[in-house]
Amino acid sequence: MGAGHQHQLYRAGDTLVHRLPPQCKLAAVAAFALVVVATPREWLWVFCLYAALLAGAAAVARVPPGFVLRRMAVEIPFVVFAVALPFIGLGERVSLLGVSLSAEGLWSAWNILAKATLGVAASVLLAATTEPRLMLLGAQRLRLPPLLVQIAMFMLRYMDVIVDEMRRMRVARESRGFTARDVRHIPVVAKSAGALFIRSYERGERVHLAMLSRGYSGSMPVIQDLSASSRQWLVAGMLPGVALVALLGTWGLA
């Protein structure tokens, strides 16, 4: 239930990680997230290794730890839920500092916290090192339906325009002394939303006609060469690869 997103995460740079083709990074992060989710929660040291892997990737990409930590705030609602788990969970109970906690609840709180944190950190790193537009082109190379990628591209381009429009309307409301405090103020907010829809839809129609008159034929031209060499795939594959080796290795020992 996180509220709005004010800032994009991209952080310009020119490092090994920044230069990797987007499709390699996307596939690597998705595979890494899968490996993390598939790891049994009792293997504590494997999770430490995953965290170390991410820290290594962040160091190579020169993304400061504070940057990653601040951007991880989106996780907070679920942290609250995880903290509540030991109290409301079922099953065998253990006593800790005089408080009766569910052992099963403690384990699943750890499970959710560890996996969600690793997942969010990996996503933050991906978003910080990949330009949004390139990320979508990479997704298209990974066989995401082209229409879906197009929609996402248009969304990215319109997002700031519409959010700005909305901010101007909010400034106008507030400069007339309005703040939404009460359920009775909902109609005002909703009428703004209606006006926002009409304004942005009409603007979208104008933009579409302008695009058509400039030769838009249903797809945007891609100028960059996005092909990835096998070496780049290998570099990107190191993140999920090492994680997978650790997982399978522990499996073999256990």
Partner: protein, 343 residues
């Protein structure tokens, strides 16, 4: 409600991903019908609009505020297929660019907030607008549809949690807590959706997909007072053949599921029984916190069962209907292709 990684086990994440992919693929076909050649730009614009609208915080009660989910609003304004696509794209962008919602949980998020919320909202909206026509009905239907869509997707979350959640909590607790909070949020969502739709209806009624049949036909009057009616208002949505059959079927199935499971649950309580059989219900009584307010949610266990039945019907219809349409479309396409070859 952006579910992070690690909340659901791998099996549920992957099967929800499959459901989401099927639904999105189906909607990609449908959206072309709703927006023709302008699909990509306009759907992108609506996605950006939903993204912006989700930033509108509205006060729910003293001290708490919720924000709009926007699925039902989009369905009424631009049509259900485009709405599912837009919500899916919003979630994709939030997952990849804002790290909000886990990548492995993307399927779960799209299924819950995209498919389930939009399908539930749109089904309710169509049912009401079928029964009574006119602007008032559209606005009232928007309110009810948005109000229902939010708790329905919250209860579906609880259901998924029961199937493959990683935390040991009774499903009735989760369902009651999620459902309760989201009924409140749903009221706000319903109010905003209804007023937004009525605002747009007042200014540009042609932009409201859900009110397409309502535009009055254009009447041209000549100098001699002769009136010529031009341009029949476009017929309402779906193909006529299944036009009445689909909502009626949904209604019957929903009634059956809701009422039957409600009665079933007033005797032993079906879900609790299943939970005990599976061996994960257990020590609810010897909670140290058994007299705490949260423990009371067990009492409300009856209602979520009925709701859960409704939700199950919705999900099954959505998945089954999606597959049916996809298969039928394909076979028809192949048949026409064959005809062309033979002709």
């Amino acid at each position: 409600m952006h579910v992070p990684d690690g909340f659901f086990n791998a099996a549920v994440s992957i099967s929800a991903g499959a459901v989401a992919a099927t639904g999105v693929a189906f909607c990609l076909r449908g959206a072309r019908r709703e927006l023709d050649d302008r699909t990509a730009p306009m759907a992108g614009l609506v996605a950006a609009f939903i993204f912006a609208v989700q930033m509108l915080n509205f006060p729910v009660a003293a001290g708490t505020s919720g924000h709009l989910l926007g699925g039902t609003l989009a369905a009424i304004l631009v049509g259900p297929h485009t709405a599912v696509l837009c919500v899916a794209v919003v979630l994709l962008v939030q997952g990849f660019f804002f790290a909000d919602g886990g990548l492995t949980a993307l399927g779960v998020n799209i299924t819950l907030m995209g498919i389930v919320a939009v399908v539930a909202g749109w089904a309710v909206f169509r049912l009401i607008t079928k029964a009574s026509r006119g602007r008032g009905a559209v606005v009232a239907a928007s309110f009810v549809a948005a109000l229902i869509s939010v708790p329905v997707s919250a209860v579906t979350f609880a259901l998924l949690f029961w199937v493959g959640g990683t935390a040991p909590i009774e499903v009735s607790t989760v369902a009651a807590a999620m459902g309760g909070v989201h009924v409140l949020i749903g009221i706000g969502e319903g109010l905003i959706t209804a007023v937004t739709v009525s605002t747009v209806l007042a200014v540009r009624p042609d932009l409201v997909y859900g009110a397409r049949g309502l535009a009055a036909p254009l009447v041209l009057r000549g100098a001699d007072g002769e009136a010529v009616v031009t341009g029949e208002p476009r017929a309402q949505g779906a193909p006529r053949r299944i036009g009445w059959f689909l909502p009626a079927g949904v209604l019957v199935a929903a009634l059956l599921a809701g009422i039957v499971s409600f009665y079933a649950s007033s005797s032993p309580d079906g879900l609790e029984r299943v939970a005990e059989d599976k061996g994960f219900s257990g020590q609810a009584a010897d909670h140290a916190l058994a007299d705490q307010p949260l423990a009371d949610y067990g009492e409300a266990g009856d209602i979520p069962v009925g709701l859960a039945g409704l939700v199950g019907v919705g999900v099954t219809l959505a998945v089954g209907g999606g597959l049916f349409f996809a298969v039928r479309r394909r076979s028809r396409g192949e048949a026409s292709a064959r005809d062309e070859v033979s002709a």
